[in-house]
Symmetry: C2
Subunit: 165 residues, 2 copies
């Protein structure tokens, strides 16, 4: 089955036969797929009246395990947003009663963000919904292909995640 990137690559080969556009076969697909996933997630979460960005923060805290708290800095590396954005997100989640800010006892510059009970419930319930949706999307691939794909992607993400750039 052909996709939009096939058309895009064919167009470049016609217009710029002098260039090797093979890298687009991989990376344009990654970008476009991510955009499709964003839209799909927005739909899925709207059933729980949750925005994708809320999900990202709440589940990062949920994953941390009891007592479900992380510093804003730790949340930055997990969600790939800037510090200004994170301050804003925490403000809004705190206003909704899903998280609370506590002073860091070991560093007076620092803050700890803790999940409230309601925040934890929301995180748990919406995760199940997300997994169901993702499973449907991945049903195009066999289990072996999914493993293969995950492995190839890891090789591309690892440099970004390990050598902070």
């Amino acid at each position: 089955m052909e996709d939009e990137v096939d058309r895009l690559v064919a167009a470049w080969r016609r217009e710029r036969p002098d260039l090797d556009v093979e890298p687009l076969e991989v990376l344009s697909r990654v970008s476009r797929l991510a955009r499709h996933l964003d839209r799909a997630r927005r739909l899925a979460f709207s059933e729980h009246s949750l925005e994708p960005w809320e999900f990202d923060v709440l589940t990062a805290l949920r994953r941390a395990g009891a007592p479900y708290q992380l510093s804003p800095g730790q949340l930055l590396t997990q969600t790939l947003v800037t510090s200004g954005t994170m301050t804003n997100r925490i403000d809004r989640l705190a206003q909704k009663g899903l998280v609370e800010r506590l002073p860091d006892p070991s560093d007076r510059r620092g803050v700890l963000v803790r999940l409230t009970d309601e925040g934890r419930d929301r995180a748990d319930r919406s995760l199940a919904g997300l997994l169901a949706q993702e499973r449907a999307i991945l049903s195009e691939l066999s289990p072996a292909q999914r493993t293969e794909l995950a492995g190839l992607l890891r090789r591309l993400t690892a440099p970004f995640d390990n050598i902070p750039g």
Copy 2:
């Protein structure tokens, strides 16, 4: 090499051993990689004083071939943004002299967006830069692995691109 998604998955398995979080191995990597790519592109384009969104629109027109014109609607499907966003983008590109709006001769509701000569130069020059950057990122993989990865990704993107959702 381990990446952030490996840590994320391990954390879920510890916190929610009742759930099968295998889908995240693929799709969380896609989302995170796309975010890293966005940042890298922003840097690469800043040398040409071009924003990623400008690149997206200009190259879509460039790919169309002479006379380098498309309707706003055609640009929507290629760039995955909403119509309000596209109107705004065309306004700003027109103001910079990189594109111009022409009436569609066959449909009076319609508009054609055409690349100016300067817009075309900008598109051509920045594409070369992007490809160089992407090639560096993909050097982690062998040619055969790149082909394999592109094929697996195609199977996931095709349903989105063909059954408009």
